[in-house]
Amino acid sequence: MRTVPPLVAAYLADLDRRLSGADPAERADIVDSVREHIDVALDELEHDPTGDDVRRVLADLGTVDDVVAAWSPDTPPLPTVRRSLTDSPVGVVLVALGGLALGLVLAPVSLVLLAIPAAALVLAIVSSVGWVRRGTHWKSWRTTFVLTVPVLLVTGFVTVALTAVYSSSESVGGDPQPIVSVPSTP
């Protein structure tokens, strides 16, 4: 029986240690299979293996890291951390400014289309809930909230202010009277 070369013993011991998280039966199975592979490879040399032979066989096997990595490919990858515009304070300011600009653009039509501030209000409420609940897309909800609130404030303010001005002008001036030319009676 051939003595186990120290390099092989170290390789197998390292592999066994690195697989400590595996099911014990699977761990033993993998280590035994690799040991058998080495035995067969060295046996096929038909001469006493030299240090170079052992190193070549181990090199063909790959590193212990390679083998361990192949044991656990079913492990789900770590979830990717998604970057969001509102991850930084600067990003929050930029998105808020974008919301402000959008609000100013929408302000002239918000008087006619009252649905705009109403929709902004609903979206702000929904996005705040999505943000607070910290679900899968909570960062997207946060960005939506930061964008929506300035739109809501601008369009809401413009709508309320202009409605108030219009109402007061009506109460001061009264109902406009139609100008009707009355034909002179003969």
């Binding site: 699977e26 035995d39 096997l61 390679d66 083998v67 192949a70 656990s72």
Partner: protein
């Protein structure tokens, strides 16, 4: 023809992902021809550096195939050396291989069609 593993970390990452999805079926395909032992499978699949990065990665894969009952393993005496574990395809493994082949053909055609002409 011997292929060499593409260079570069991005190419290596792509190759690793592709191997994870296909290598075990390549082992099943090899065993479809008859029972085989580890060294033999490693030689057959590792002839080029495309399917295998290193021979040692075969053994965790075989353990996984055994766990799924796609492969059955028995010890057999060797006329030239120590006893060897022979791995054989089970009926479940054969079914899995057939399912893979049925999906692989249209999958490969679709990918080839999309990738055609891209340098």
């Amino acid at each position: 023809m011997r292929h060499m593993e593409p260079k570069g970390s991005e190419a290596h990452a792509v190759l690793t992902q592709l191997r994870r999805g296909t290598l075990e079926y390549c082992v099943l395909a090899h065993l479809d021809r008859g029972p085989s032992y580890g060294q033999d499978i490693a030689r057959a699949l590792g002839g080029d550096d495309i399917l295998f990065g290193s021979e040692g990665t075969l053994y965790p894969l075989l353990t996984r195939l055994r766990r799924r009952r796609w492969v059955d393993t028995t010890w057999q005496e060797s006329p030239t050396g120590p006893p060897r574990r022979y791995h054989a395809l089970t009926d479940e493994g054969r079914d899995a291989l057939r399912s893979f082949v049925a999906v692989w053909e249209p999958f490969r055609t679709g990918v080839d069609h999309l990738m055609k002409g891209i340098a």
